[in-house]
């Protein structure tokens, strides 16, 4: 049984099914209703830890398969980091060489190349950029709606509007889950409930280091194709991506305290508008359609917690994705299916991501937290 029907829960169910295991998902609201439907659709392997790179490279292979198997929109349209400060350019040169050593084809490009990738951009404040041609974007709507339909067709259950209340254990083993629709018996239970994972485990006296950090995004009306890559302005921690439907989806960091309620803030709209109209003056005329808030379920080392819980047979966690859970959902699904059916993941780097790392002080080291 899986608690949570976001990209993580659905992909765990999907890759369990590939191993012949039929699962039940309990989703409190409707599939995708958590952060999955709020995400910015970006997918990349250009990280600065071995663990993230290994998981994301596998995920990128799987995204291509999901495109064929489920008809999910997915495109390797690249990422572009805009750099306007000398120190950022120096730092990115070291990230690029780390990534290249690990098989991720990022490269520093000059402004004429930036213009080629985003023809309408104003480059006067820029020094250079970093391009990742292996990165891309996918539709969270397709991923959720198509995998959900597929799972149900193949005999799995996706229970909508069913809330998990309490995990029942006996003698260190999982018995099942008490839900709003009654008791569901299961020898293996996966918590894929983002920040709510913390609340579920609290009742078992287990504390999980995940904090919800509010994030903001808006989307404009749809326009014709103007650029393919997801673009990040590094000095202001802002991004813009044109969805395949044509809308521009924009995000930008404003000061937020973990645990604060995500509220609509004019400060966000002002900052995001200022940053992106400077690079794309035509955007002043674009119409903003929707503004929403969500959160990143963030861990101290910005890496997810995926794997079993020591001493609690049959209980697994897949949460704490720190803003990158959509892109890695396929490989996380595969890793969790390995853990559950074989007791060990095939991607060895994933062994470093279980909960025990916090107790043992083995946090994942990363040169930079990237977006």
């Amino acid at each position: 049984m899986i608690i949570g029907g976001g990209s993580t829960g659905l992909m765990i169910s999907y890759y369990l099914l590939k191993k012949g295991v039929k699962s039940v998902i309990a989703e409190r609201k409707y599939p995708g209703s958590g952060n999955t439907y709020k995400c910015a659709t970006g997918i990349r392997a250009s990280f600065t830890s071995r663990e993230h790179i290994a998981l994301m490279k596998r995920a990128i292979e799987l995204w291509s398969e999901l495109k064929d198997e489920l008809g999910v929109f997915y495109e390797r349209s690249g990422y572009l980091w805009l750099l306007s400060r000398e120190e950022d350019l120096r730092a990115f040169k070291t990230y690029v060489s780390f990534q290249n050593e690990h098989g991720v084809p990022t490269k520093v490009i000059d402004l004429s190349e930036v213009k080629r990738l985003a023809p309408t951009i104003v480059t006067k404040d820029l020094l250079a950029a970093v391009h990742d041609p292996l990165a891309g974007k996918a539709s969270p709507f397709d991923l959720v709606l198509q995998s959900w339909r597929f799972l149900v067709e193949k005999g799995c259950k996706v229970l909508m509007g069913v809330e998990a209340k309490k995990i029942l254990m006996s003698g260190g083993k999982v018995l099942g889950v008490e839900t709003s629709a009654g008791f569901i018996e299961s020898r293996a239970v996966v918590l894929a409930a983002a920040y709510d994972t913390v609340k579920m485990l609290k009742s078992l006296n287990i504390s999980v280091p995940i904090e919800p950090v509010p994030k903001h995004a808006f989307i404009t009306e749809a326009y014709r194709d103007l650029f393919k890559p997801l673009i990040i302005d590094w000095s202001t921690s802002s991004y813009v991506v044109q969805t395949h439907h044509g809308n521009f989806l924009v995000g930008s960091e404003i000061p937020e305290k973990p645990g604060d309620k995500p509220l609509s803030r004019l400060e966000f709209l002002r900052k995001a508008s200022k940053v992106w109209t400077k690079y794309f003056p035509w955007m002043k005329e674009a119409y903003l359609l929707r503004y929403w808030t969500g959160y990143y379920d963030t861990t101290p080392d910005h890496h997810p917690i995926i794997g079993p819980l020591d001493g609690l047979e049959g209980l697994y966690v897949a949460a704490g994705f720190s803003g990158h859970g959509f892109m890695m959902s396929p490989s996380v699904g595969e890793v969790m299916a390995d853990w559950i059916t074989e007791g060990r993941p095939k991607i060895l780097e994933a062994l470093n991501l279980s909960m025990s790392r916090f107790r043992e002080g083995r946090l994942v080291k990363e040169a930079a937290v990237f977006g």
Binding site: R149, K274, R290
Partner: protein, 92 residues
């Protein structure tokens, strides 16, 4: 009336027949149908079409309106030009 000839969502060009097909395909809540067909995601934000889709869905499934996951309204109430958020309305 022929469902192929009834436009339910004029912003995103969705027909009554599309809605009926989605319901037949097993989607039984407005939030999911919205993301499957983009109905309600156009410039009027579903003000014109979502009440109609809700009625069609309630009729087809026997569910009550409060069981359909009616999407919440998100700001702004009307599309606003990005330049309105720049301090002088026309910042370079």
């Amino acid at each position: 009336m022929d469902p192929e000839k009834v436009v339910v969502c004029r912003c995103e060009d969705v027909l009554l027949s599309d809605i009926l097909k989605a319901i037949e395909g097993g989607y039984r809540d407005l939030e999911s149908i919205k993301r499957l067909l983009r109905v309600g995601m156009g410039s009027c934000q579903g003000r014109h079409c979502l009440p109609i889709v809700a009625r069609v869905l309630a009729k087809a499934t026997g569910l009550r309106i409060d069981e359909l996951n009616y999407p919440p309204s998100r700001p702004p109430l009307m599309p606003i030009q990005i330049k309105c958020f720049l301090s002088d309305g026309n910042e370079e």
